[in-house]
Amino acid sequence: MKIEILDEKFDPWQAIVEYKRNQLQNNSKIGASSVFLGTMRDFNDDEEVESMELEHYEGMTEKYLSNIVDAAIKKHKIIDGLVIHRIGVLKPTDPIVVVATWSEHRDNAFNATREIMESLKSDAPFWKKENTNKGFKWVKPSNELTENTNET
């Protein structure tokens, strides 16, 4: 398992390839890999977003992400899982979060990646602040604004 919080831009695909090669030794029992990548969009609620700042609760974030991935590994019987999440200042198209899981069969990886993302969005202590053409504002959770936020 790997949980990483990064304050600078990263390459999600390279991170996945390297983790699979170095930590999983390209395990030949892996038949399925499921990856979700969230990237920053340049619009939100009809406003242009120039940049976004992501803060988190250091310590609690790592604990929750570890618990979430650990629970998914056990529940879905996957081989392993990885989460990398950005903090700091992001520009449109920058990766925000990548979740990857590896399993023998596809059902397990699909379900694990999905569940990790949903748990991350509901529980992990991250907050987004957008810099729009009308100034700074904190992003509202998508269930409050129904799909009009800069949320993946």
């Binding site: 609760y57 929750y64 979060v97 993302m117 949320e151």
Partner: protein, 77 residues
């Protein structure tokens, strides 16, 4: 007893600070603490609370040395 309080995101903006070391009476609840802290300030729509990195509800009774964090609904991912 001593506790440590942290504020994040829009709650930090409202409180005007990111943390505080407080000396409080025994066995007060998170809700009682919050009501004392927010008095005279703009009340946020919703506040979440974690004690020692775990979500708790407002009835949680504080203990010596607790780290209490107040923050709005999370928006990561």
């Amino acid at each position: 007893m001593k506790i440590y309080v942290k504020y994040f995101a829009s709650i930090r903006d409202i409180m005007g600070t990111e943390c505080a070391n407080l000396d409080i009476e025994e066995s007060i609840s998170v809700d009682e603490l919050w009501q004392g802290l927010i008095v005279g300030k703009e009340t946020p729509q919703k506040v979440l609370v974690a004690v020692n990195y775990e979500y708790v509800n407002m009835n949680y009774k504080l203990k010596e040395g607790d780290e209490v964090a107040f923050f709005p609904p999370v928006t990561g991912g």
